[in-house]
Amino acid sequence: MLRSRIAAAAVGATVLGITAALVPTVSNAADPAVATATPVVQWADSADDFTAVPVSESDVPLSDGWNFLVGYNGEDPATTSITDVATFDSNGIAAKPDQFVPLLHALPSAVSPDDVPALVSTASANVGTGSQVGLTVGDAATPSITDGTVFATNGFTGDTTTWDGSESTTDLVTDLKADDKVVTGYFVTLGSIQLQQQQQQQQRSIPNAPQGLFANPTAATSRVAAVAAAVTPVAGGAASIAVGDTTTYFTPQPTAAATVGAASYTVTQATTSGVQVTGSGFAPNEVISFGLSLDGNGGELEGLTLVADADGNVSGTIVLPASFVPGPGTYSLAVVGNSSGQSLFTPLVITADPAPVATPISGRATFTG
């Protein structure tokens, strides 16, 4: 199921309810040596997440989310599902035997040539042998239409990425400017490039066969740099791709879960030594935020974050602001994956601090004796 940052924000607002002014509280922040997840993480792990686009169209208006080109073998785009040409499993998505499946995804807005180096420097993908990645382009005047592709010869390798053979990103920028083009999105191809080339030969008799899209791919097949997820995609498959502010995982979306470390915490424990939180099923390396409420009152614990590891697990201690813990009760702790938008509630029982032993007061007693 597709997720977006917008969805995440909406969920967060619903979950957290009232927002109160807070003083940031210490938490175990992200390891600066590990890049956190992109602002948006989504999973494309079922047929509902893909829109068929006829291969016969030379100019492709990309839908939101993922698109796949269909019709190489005469399929009807109106009735073809991604599951007719590809399969999903724990390693991601892969083309079925004898299938070549280009997957395309639009950027939120077209990227001008000058901004392409920045876009490329952070792009990454985890695809299997035979699969390829690259960018889609369109005319600067009509950026909503994609009419061409440029292949990353050796995959997305940051500043050393080469294009369509041996062009540097600087060369690519020059070419885009010369042709008055902008980058409209990105793609990953599933299946063997040889098969695609065979299909391309067959398509020469098909009217309106795409000339720009995948018309002249390179034959490079090296595996590209991996995204964080420790998944090895099969040949001709893809596990994940990250371009711009969005990472897509083609692996099954996990179910987020989280618990607190103790059956109960005292008010002082929760607000000084903190509450241990353990969770799983979040996006790799995504920032996890928290909210706390009691009887409908509460809000986001601003400044309190943990970071999931490369497997989407999270473990750490959050020290609750005293203003959020007015007394004992069964609170609801909201745990939200900032990038994936995955959220859940877990009960947090907070008990009163132990009452202090009475201090004797020297004085005259007047009890009945």
């Binding site: 007015p326 601090d353 009475a358 007061i361 009890f367 009945t368």
Partner: protein
């Protein structure tokens, strides 16, 4: 219910209030006048105003005579009366919420969110912090036991005026067995022998709480004395106080194990010392 004070160490009382029931009815009409006369006599014989016995009226306006006594005075032990009616179930929760005042005073209302009916100072007159036993909670409010007559009085205070804590202890006193069971987390931790009230000055039964801990500077109370939310049903004043029931030590250890007090619960000094090292204010204090 009106009860005759039995204080056999005071012959004046015995002469005026015969034990024969038939005389009580006969003398009822003149009782008020007798009480007034008694006050005059006793005051004239007492040098320490704090120990002046008070001749008071009970809540039912029946004349009462209270003894002149310091805590060291021991009423003549009487057979422990068999409580009439059902005995209350044990009130020893596994945990009790305690509310300690955080400011200079605490407003008290009759209902949660209602108008303030009284304001209690913190600390109390004794200097002890103002601490309540919480018996009910609503959002933003707690109902607490109050140290005032009638026994069982409660009021609502805002949680913003108190800090809530948790108390694992509870005290259950048996007037039948003259024992005090100390509970922790709902289980008996230790049982102590105690002295409770005589038949004439019984220890009131009910569910109360500890309100203050004194290290008494006057004799008779041992090293420590807890004040409670309980008040004598027959003594409206005592030793300069309002007839408040205490839990304390004693210099008359021989009285322990019998019904021998004016209503307070006496313990051996070592035992009250042990409690003083454990118990928070607000601890449930049940007499049954």
């Amino acid at each position: 219910m009106a009860r005759r004070v039995q204080h056999r160490t005071d012959p004046l009382v015995k002469r005026i209030i015969p034990e024969d029931p038939k005389w009580r009815a006969t003398l009822a009409a003149v009782a008020v006048a007798v009480v007034v006369a008694l006050v005059v006599v006793v005051v004239s014989l007492t040098t320490d105003p704090a120990t002046v016995p008070a001749a008071t009226r009970s809540a039912t306006s029946t004349p009462r005579v209270t003894p002149t006594a310091m805590a060291t005075d021991t009423p003549t032990p009487t057979p422990t009366p068999t409580p009439t009616g059902p005995v209350d179930a044990i009130d020893a929760p596994t945990s009790t919420t305690v509310a300690a005042a955080t400011g200079a005073d605490v407003p008290v209302s009759a209902t949660a969110g209602g108008a303030v009916t009284s304001t209690l100072p913190n600390p109390q007159a004794s200097g002890a912090p103002l601490v309540f036993r919480v018996v009910e909670q609503q959002s933003g409010w707690v109902r607490v036991q109050l140290a005032k007559r009638p026994n069982g009085s409660t009021g609502w205070v805002p949680t913003s005026a108190v800090k809530l804590t948790s108390d694992p202890y509870a005290i259950v006193v048996s007037v039948t067995d003259n024992t005090l069971d100390l509970y922790k987390d709902g289980s008996v931790l230790h049982s102590y022998p105690v002295a409770t009230g005589t038949g004439g000055t019984p220890t009131p039964t009910g569910r109360f709480a500890l309100t203050e801990l004194l290290a008494p500077t006057n004799d008779g109370y041992g090293p420590y004395a807890y004040g409670t939310t309980a008040f004598s049903d027959v003594l409206n004043s005592f030793g300069g106080g309002p007839g408040q029931i205490g839990l304390h030590g004693t210099n008359d250890s021989s009285s322990i194990g019998s019904g021998a007090s004016h209503g307070c619960v006496r313990m051996h000094n070592a035992d009250i010392t042990a409690l003083a090292k454990l118990l928070p204010l607000g601890t449930p204090f049940q007499v049954r």
